[in-house]
């Protein structure tokens, strides 16, 4: 049942990749693709897949339809064509060819990128400089950007009671208190989960003060925020030796309201 071109679709990045393969295999000029032949080949491969009960991704089906559309368009005589230039513009294959050329360019570029001396694979730098995510794929923590933090904040606020608009929230939790609390936790435990900083409370002022405290500690490079997967728990680690975590710099004189 299988054609001589028994190929696995998952070997290809997508329909464009498969088409390029077929064009090359049949030594066609990419600027003058024999659509009928290519379409037959392409559909044959898809049929093979189906007969093997393999899933054919939607993108491949869309391309099949496109090929058939082009094929039929090419069978129709176009009375408006009068000279070469116009005929090229009206070539039903034009868009496909352009896409193939463009795709091939980036595919090639991606292979060239892969040939570079990659940090963490071919070249290395001092440990602090290596993006943590490249150290060890399974257990490595990823440094969290502002986006991730805000997203965590959002998750916490989702459960929060809606605020009464005109009530001025009493700042029962100050940022410097929360900083000191985090530093205490880190000194005793050496790491602490972001969500555990909120004491199970959804009090908005606590959440915001804690969030700002974390941001500030990150800005001071005292604390590193890491996550082992996008949905995973966010962890705080000390970015400095534990004995330097003492909150002595964080007295009210420096942090207090003016």
């Amino acid at each position: 049942m299988t054609s001589p071109f028994a190929v696995r679709l998952d070997a290809f990045e997508g329909p464009l990749d498969l088409l390029l393969h077929l064009i090359r295999k049949h030594e066609m000029d990419i600027y003058d693709i024999q659509i009928a032949e290519i379409a037959d080949q392409y559909l044959g491969i898809l049929d093979d897949m189906k007969s093997l009960n393999l899933d054919v991704a939607g993108e491949f089906l869309v391309m099949a339809a496109t090929l058939l559309q082009i094929k039929s368009a090419m069978l129709l005589p176009n009375p408006e064509i009068e000279n070469e230039e116009e005929s090229e513009e009206a070539d039903p294959r034009a868009e496909l060819v352009a896409r193939l050329l463009e795709y091939q360019k980036y595919k090639e570029a991606s292979l060239e990128l892969d040939d570079k001396a990659l940090l963490g694979r071919d070249v290395f730098t001092r440990e602090e400089g290596v993006p943590p995510e490249l150290r060890d794929s399974e257990v490595a923590f990823v440094e969290v950007g502002i986006f991730d933090l805000v997203s965590a904040l959002q998750a916490l606020l989702k459960d929060a009671r809606p605020e009464t608009v005109h009530e001025i929230t009493q700042n029962t939790f100050s940022v410097s208190d929360r900083i000191n609390h985090i530093l205490d936790e880190l000194t005793s435990k050496s790491s602490v989960a972001f969500k555990d900083l909120f004491l199970g409370s959804t009090d908005r002022s606590l959440v915001v003060a804690t969030f700002l405290a974390v941001l500030e500690l990150v800005k001071m490079r005292t604390v590193k925020v890491m996550q082992n997967s996008r949905q995973g728990t966010i962890w705080l680690f000390p970015a400095v030796p534990v004995d330097e975590l003492t909150p002595h710099e964080l007295e009210d004189g420096q942090f207090g309201y003016e």
Partner: protein, 203 residues
């Protein structure tokens, strides 16, 4: 500060910096002209090269950084007990498109690749190799993506201008044809290799 002293100080600073040090930052710190700093760094680079040291001063992500030389990769990996990671092809393709066409939207990436790219995009965001630059001012306000400093550092690129030149199609076609001819006869296994690679884990 004489030339030797300047080079010495720069060596110290490069060793302790957390990320590649920019000329501007060094010049400001040392209260010198950028050109003086650049000259000193270039002399240092040359001196490491000349004595065929195991470390070099690389220009990556618009800054300078000590890195091990590529020839010693195997030993360094042995120290860390790590195996070389490899990028999946979807990740590389998507990354290449974002790198060359940024700012670029997800629909644009998917048009160019011909396949859904949401999953790959998410992975690249998680790895901090691409970032969201904002939203495009067109109907639907799609997010626009670009590469990060980490991307440059990972691929050892000085800046975006250092990306490999996009080749003319004719060149690629010729190269690929030659490559395929060279390996003709084992088409099947090549294809299957490709398959197993594509499925492999991201870095």
């Amino acid at each position: 500060m004489d030339t030797n002293e300047l080079q010495s100080v720069i060596e110290s600073l490069l060793l302790v910096a957390e990320s590649p040090l920019r000329i501007e930052r060094l010049a400001e710190l040392l209260e010198l002209e950028r050109s003086e700093v650049r000259q000193a760094i270039e002399a240092l680079q040359e001196s490491y090269r000349q004595r065929e040291a195991g470390i070099e001063i690389a220009f990556v992500g618009n800054g300078y950084q000590f890195r091990t030389i590529e020839q010693n990769a195997e030993w360094v990996r042995r120290l860390a007990g790590s195996r070389p990671f490899r990028f999946s092809r979807p990740a590389l393709e998507t990354l290449a498109i974002i790198a060359y066409r940024q700012p670029v939207t997800r629909p644009e990436i998917e048009y160019l690749r011909g396949v859904d790219s949401g999953g790959v995009l998410k992975t690249l965001l998680e790895k901090h190799l691409v970032r969201i630059l904002g939203k495009k001012d067109v109907p639907g306000k799609p997010l626009i993506y670009g590469t990060t400093r980490q991307f440059l550092e990972l691929f050892g690129l000085a800046d975006l201008a250092a990306l490999p030149t996009l080749k003319e199609i004719a060149d690629i076609d010729k190269e690929l044809r030659e490559a395929e001819m060279a390996t003709s006869g084992n088409e099947k296994s090549t294809v299957e290799d490709g398959g197993s690679q594509a499925g492999e884990a991201n870095p």
